[in-house]
């Protein structure tokens, strides 16, 4: 794991420039033609004049650079920052809808304390800090910092640095939580390519992309960067059209755009990748480095793998043919394919296929972005058991909603009940915050300072600066501000570790520290002003860092596969939870623009659904919109079905991110939470949550569910809407 503190050593020392200068901010303003002449308004308050600020999108871990249009002191529109190497001017639906979070009617306007009857009452920051610092101070004085648990989510960059310094100085535990983590992908990169962190995939230069479950056009890792690359892959300047094959049990957005969709049986993706790798070796496709992998002893024959995956052998052979003939092939693995109980092994098999194809150093490169280390299932269970035995005094939820986003089977909700004091740092009373004693109202990311290292970035070290684009709307503080103020009140070692006045001072100090360590002395203020204008500091990598694929030949990966919770006779279907870019694991549910944006595959709005194959539906007597009960060994829920041909007959697919108990009027009580069905399964190598390894049973409830879909006919009926000549 590359920690944030180490990552900057990979950046080149001398001669680092700022990103190409698309100078926004004051430069973009036209001179005032004076009607309102005599007073000089603040920069962002010239009536009728747009001011654009470059900052960082915090809605998902991709870390896109965005440009925000501000008029009369209010953020109005979010675009991609055209000079940012990750977003290159694009912005996804979720990033744009973050304005709905900023101006959300249910956003907290001040700190809130629990009233003891399930509600909350407004309080002042002083009261909050008095109580919190008294509790923390007492624990610290008693040497019981261990009884404090800081739970955090996606926020990286200097905000993470502040949190970890705080926890370290206090002796507290820090857990980074997410349902879909990068742990297995990092483990595979380390095992097969021999580098730390996440690979950078060059989709644009590939002539063939074979993706095992990675929904890179939908929600996977860095959707905007990959979408930009995909545009070039299809109709780029090189005049060559790339071919895309998607292997997954349920058609994702990427599967819908693929040239071929191969609905493999869940848990067989790794074995298929390994069989293809062995086939490539047989055909002499492997380079010298992998010559001693022999026949990849763990691999099945193509025919065996095809049968296991339930894909016609002819199609697998055709795919092998394409792979063998491709000039610059690229194989991706992710999503459910890497979230079985041997997910890391499956992704290693995918990486091995890349290695045999000679992709490393070409279409696969080390990224060296900051790859976060996440809490494993055993880590989370340790927290839960500490709480169960009454050893957790204080839980600080730093912008994370584990009571919704993670499976109940991990015991987090129970743990929050048992903890003595729970403090949530959030903008909403979400599912976890509703269990808290205090909810400290946080800023929107558009109102405060920070930064992030985009990972996977653009093949360089992409550090994006986050800055406020407008004044605070309400009486809120950022998570970093809250941590700094607590530190100041606590004094001693904690205050020493975090002597800064606020998030702005802390961010600047961090940038100064990093630049100084790289010998970039110069005029800090000028350099920082440029970073503010560009929104990004895009550091070229130090000499040689771009091709650190290990020349060492790793041992061939173990045979992958997956074990599922629940017996096949009792639970005949595999549950395939999937992430959509709008809702992610729950972050988009309180945004009305996202609720009203039809789901790309099913056109459902306002609610969730379960996808069922037409053959399965017929067997069970189900029609579009019928309500079913889905039961797993871990829980049950009811949800309407969408019947469509984009899912295997033995698989039930459900979107994540719906079914909130709280989180404001747009999210609350809408749809069902697929995470609540997941058993506490973990990866045998990394301990990461195996969120695609649960079986379910389906029961028709004999009534209609609440399913709203937009749009008209789902077939073109010969109208040639998709172009002449098609018989669609």
């Amino acid at each position: 794991m590359v920690s944030r503190r180490d990552i900057f050593k990979y950046a080149a020392g001398g001669g680092v420039g700022v990103g190409v200068g698309l100078l926004l901010g004051e430069v973009n303003q036209r001179p005032l033609e004076t009607l309102l002449s005599t007073h000089i308004p603040p920069e962002d308050f010239s009536p009728g004049i747009d001011t654009w600020y470059n900052t960082l999108c915090r809605m998902c871990p991709a870390g896109c650079g965005i440009s925000v249009k501000v008029r009369e002191g209010r953020a109005k529109k979010i675009e991609g920052n055209a000079s940012h190497p990750v977003s290159r001017g694009g912005a996804c639906a979720l990033g744009q809808a973050s304005l709905n979070a900023l101006y959300n009617p249910d956003r907290l306007r001040s700190p809130m304390r629990a009233d003891g009857e399930g509600g909350f009452i407004p309080a002042s920051w002083d009261e909050a800090f008095d109580e919190l610092s008294a509790r923390l101070g007492a624990l610290q004085a008693a040497g019981m910092g261990r009884r404090v648990w800081v739970l955090t989510g996606g926020a990286l960059g200097s905000g993470e640095e502040a949190l970890s310094r705080f926890s370290e100085a206090l002796g507290a535990n820090l857990l980074r939580l997410a349902l879909d983590t990068t742990a297995n992908e990092q483990a595979a990169a380390k095992a097969i390519y021999g580098f730390e962190g996440l690979p950078h995939y060059d989709i644009a230069s590939a002539d063939l992309v074979v993706s095992f479950g990675a929904d890179f056009l939908g929600s996977w890792r860095s959707p905007i960067a990959y979408a930009k690359a995909y545009g070039e892959f299809r109709q780029g300047a090189n005049g060559r059209r790339g071919h895309l094959a998607q292997i997954e049990p349920r058609m994702s957005l990427t599967g819908a755009n693929a040239d071929e969709w191969l609905p493999a049986r869940p848990g067989t993706e790794g074995a298929l990748a390994l069989a293809l790798a062995a086939e490539m070796l047989r055909r002499g496709r492997g380079g010298e480095d992998v010559a001693n992998w022999g026949g990849l002893s763990g691999a099945m024959s193509l025919a065996g793998a095809a049968e296991q995956a339930d894909i016609p052998l002819a199609r697998v052979e055709a795919l092998a043919e394409r792979l063998a003939a491709a000039e610059t092939p690229l194989v991706l693995g992710g999503g459910a394919a890497g979230a079985g109980t041997r997910g890391a092994a499956a992704l290693s098999a995918v990486a091995a296929l890349n290695r045999v194809l000679g992709a490393p150093g070409g279409t696969v490169r080390p990224n060296l972005g900051h790859a976060a280390s996440y809490a494993s299932v055993p880590d989370i269970e340790a927290f839960a058991s500490q709480a169960a035995s009454g050893n957790v005094s204080l839980v600080l939820l730093a912008g994370v909603d584990p009571a919704h986003d993670l499976p109940d089977s991990l015991g987090i909700r129970r743990a929050l009940e048992r903890a003595e004091l729970v403090v949530s740092l959030d903008s909403f009373i979400n599912d976890s915050a509703s269990q808290a004693d205090w909810v400290l109202a946080t800023d929107s990311f558009l109102e405060t300072w920070g930064d992030d290292i985009s990972s996977p970035g653009a093949g360089s070290l992409t550090v994006t600066l986050q800055q406020p684009v407008q004044e605070r709307l309400f009486d809120t503080l950022s998570i970093t501000d809250i941590v700094l103020r607590l530190a100041a009140r606590l004094g001693g070692a904690v205050a020493q570790a975090l002597p800064h006045a606020d998030a702005q001072a802390f961010t600047r100090a961090e940038w100064a520290r990093v630049w100084q360590s790289l010998g970039l002395n110069g005029d800090f203020n000028e350099r920082f002003r440029l970073a503010q204008q560009n929104g990004v500091w895009d550091a070229p990598l130090a000499e040689g860092m771009a091709d650190t694929i290990s020349p060492e030949v790793p041992p061939p990966p173990a045979a992958p596969g997956s074990e599922f919770a629940g017996g096949e006779s009792e639970y005949p279907f595999v549950l395939h939870p999937f992430v959509t870019q709008g809702f992610r694991e729950g972050q988009g549910a309180n945004l009305p623009w996202i609720q009203e944006l039809p789901d790309p595959l099913t056109s459902v709005v306002y609610g969730s659904w379960a996808e069922v194959n037409p053959a399965t539906a017929e067997q069970l007597g189900l029609g579009m919109g019928d309500l079913v009960e889905i039961e797993s060994p871990a829980g049950k829920l009811s949800v309407p079905v969408v019947v469509h041909p984009g899912v295997r007959p033995d698989v039930i697919a459900m979107p994540l991110g719906h079914g909130h108990r709280g989180n404001g009027r747009y999210a609350k009580g809408r749809g069902a939470n697929a995470a609540s069905l997941l058993a506490a399964q973990s990866d045998s190598a990394t301990g990461a949550l195996a969120w695609a390894a649960t079986r379910v049973a389906l029961k028709a409830l004999g009534k209609r569910g609440r399913l709203t879909r937009t749009g008209g006919l789902s077939r073109t009926l010969g109208r040639q809407i998709l172009g002449p000549g098609g018989e669609h």
């Binding site: 979010i78 912005a91 995909y230 009203e596 595959l601 019947v643």
Partner: protein
Amino acid sequence: MSKITDTLRQYRADGYFAEFDYHWTMAIDLDQCTGCGACVVACQAENNLPIVGEKRMRQGREMKWLRVERYWEGDYPDARLSFIPILCQQCDKAPCEIACPVFATYHNQDGLNAQVYNRCIGTRTCAVYCPYEVRFFNWFTYTWDEPLEQQLNPDVTVREKGVMEKCTFCVQRINRAKDLARDEGRRVADGEVQPACAQSCPTDAIVFGDRNDTDSAVSRKMRDPRAYEVLKELNTAPSVVYLKNAREPLHAADGGGHHDGANAQAAEPRAAAAEPRMVEAESAVT
């Protein structure tokens, strides 16, 4: 009236718009479009489209000047989904324009099909005449839950009950670019103005520009052999050009499979039923 009908006739003559400075046109490359919906949200944000709420959605009152239509082909396992963003096609021979009794919808000299909100009396005839179903009527005056209204774009009006609305090609952005160019004594440069959808599109599937400039990016896209117009046979002369997805036909790609229209319908028994705009089901709340 005859002056107006003469003008209308003039507008509808082939090549009329080539005489003017600009002829704004959009090209959407379906080989690049992934159906992600970023453009739909971009449009909603830029043009102050209301949040209609779940109830109105269920009644089929969706308000989206731009939507992504999705079409299935084939059956499992040889199923395929295709996407196509549909917005007002800014037809040069627009069926809606001849329908309006008060000329609330008319054609401007940039080739835009414009809607004058305060002239619209709400007969809704234009929406009936539009073959692309891209006109939306305000049956209600929508409001925003405070403080969501602080997001509203001050460059665009908010519409009220009784008014028809639709995509404008982000005319506020076009006008601003034209003003700036005029102040500086030059033409609007290619790529200088982009509607919100085109700007946000993460795959650069949407290209916007002036068709009168034969070197513009959009003119180049229009010359692509994949270029076509939706419902061309209606002779509407749209200003939105699509580039056909370059995927191999479904059943050529995998060397087999089967295609059966009747089965295809069965895959979605109730969705393909009579009601074309909205499928809903109600009786129980989950």
